[in-house]
Symmetry: C2
Subunit: 208 residues, 2 copies
DNA sequence: GTCTATAGTCGGATAGAC
DNA sequence: GTCTATCCGACTATAGAC
């Protein structure tokens, strides 16, 4: 067969989770879209909770090392980076996901946002656990670029940034429709990201 | 009795919706916290969906007129406002909610965020319907303060701003805990909002 | 590994007595 | 308006045949 059951489940699950959230996506819906048997989810993943983590993990495994590597370069380089460079390092891996998988960037950011805001908190722990090291390196890179900013302020502004990006993605379908109707603008994910960069860079670089 | 059934349901529902999201909050959980009968929800509100809208409406009715009034003043004043003034007008009504109700500001922003990102989209329509006019006046006020910015850019930057605030609120419990552990900072909602203002103002005011 | 069948739970909603 | 009792659909998860 062209694609294994496990992979078909992951593909269908990530799309539906991103569209509808975790709670509103049943295993029945996933397996019917994936055209596999209902019981196969529990056979391959054990439970719905573990399926959710597996979906997230597939992205985190690809994304985090790329970001981390770039951050380490900023930290260890002879010249201090500027904020714009640090941000680009966050961005290239994001767009890289789009090359590997159609709508991959938007999907990943949506899942990240849902993982943060959905109810129970086990997902937040799961994400921050796999995000913590990279976050720390990002913090060090920003500190080199903008030494006047305290670690606390870096921490907060990074999460403001994450919030901006994640929320924008989460409501991007609706926002794109409005922009299309009101301003005659057709925006894709990459254009949206390019719109948000000046906003984020100015925010992180704002005077204290 | 001290408080009517309808009001007890609304109070319990808004707290639980903000904490756990709409999908993960059952009517049974709400009525047990409110100490009312399960059937009373359908008697007073008709359905769970209508209860959710009633919860949001109670905040929107209080918040929107205050913001709208302030925006109209900026639009009609003789002198053009600056961005910071426009933002303050958004902020005072937010903090006003905190006076009427404990944690009201955080709760409202959480509900707003969940309404935007939760699955079906009927809530997004409900919110934008009651938000549209104010949004339009906000847009006009920003245009006066920063005429170089196109309407499209104002639109996008306003939603970036909404995203920042809403996501920050949605994960504020977790973030406050981290800040407390890592930086020895005890942050309340008002302090958090004051941290986010420079970020937002710089973002909205960023060069194009 | 994949299927059917079903156990067991929980959800929203409502009928009808008071 | 409030209660009990219940319907009925949907869900996760698993046992067991193939």
């Amino acid at each position: 067969m062209r694609q294994g059951t496990k992979s078909k489940i992951l593909d269908a699950a990530e799309r539906l989770f991103a569209e509808r959230g975790f709670a509103d996506t049943s295993l029945r819906l996933i397996t019917s879209h994936a055209e596999v048997n209902l019981a196969s989810v529990n056979y391959h993943f054990g439970s719905k909770k573990e399926l959710i983590q597996a979906v997230l993990m597939r992205y985190l495994e690809q994304f985090m090392p790329l970001v981390d590597e770039a951050m380490l370069q900023h930290i260890e380089a002879d010249n201090a980076p500027n904020l714009k460079q640090v941000f680009s390092s966050f961005l290239d891996p994001l767009l890289e996901i789009n090359k590997v998988k159609k709508h991959g960037t938007a999907t990943f950011l949506l899942l990240l946002g849902r993982g943060y805001t959905d109810s129970q908190g086990h997902l937040r722990r799961f994400i921050t656990h796999h995000f913590g090291e990279v976050l720390s390196h990002f913090q060090q890179a920003v500190r080199r670029a903008y030494p006047e900013l305290s670690d606390s302020d870096i921490f907060w502004r990074l999460h403001f940034t994450l919030g901006t990006v994640v929320f924008t993605m989460a409501s991007s379908t609706a926002l794109k429709d409005i922009a299309s109707a009101d301003f005659n603008e057709d925006i894709n994910t990459e254009a949206l990201i390019k719109k948000v960069i000046p906003y984020l860079a100015a925010g992180v670089g704002a005077p204290i």
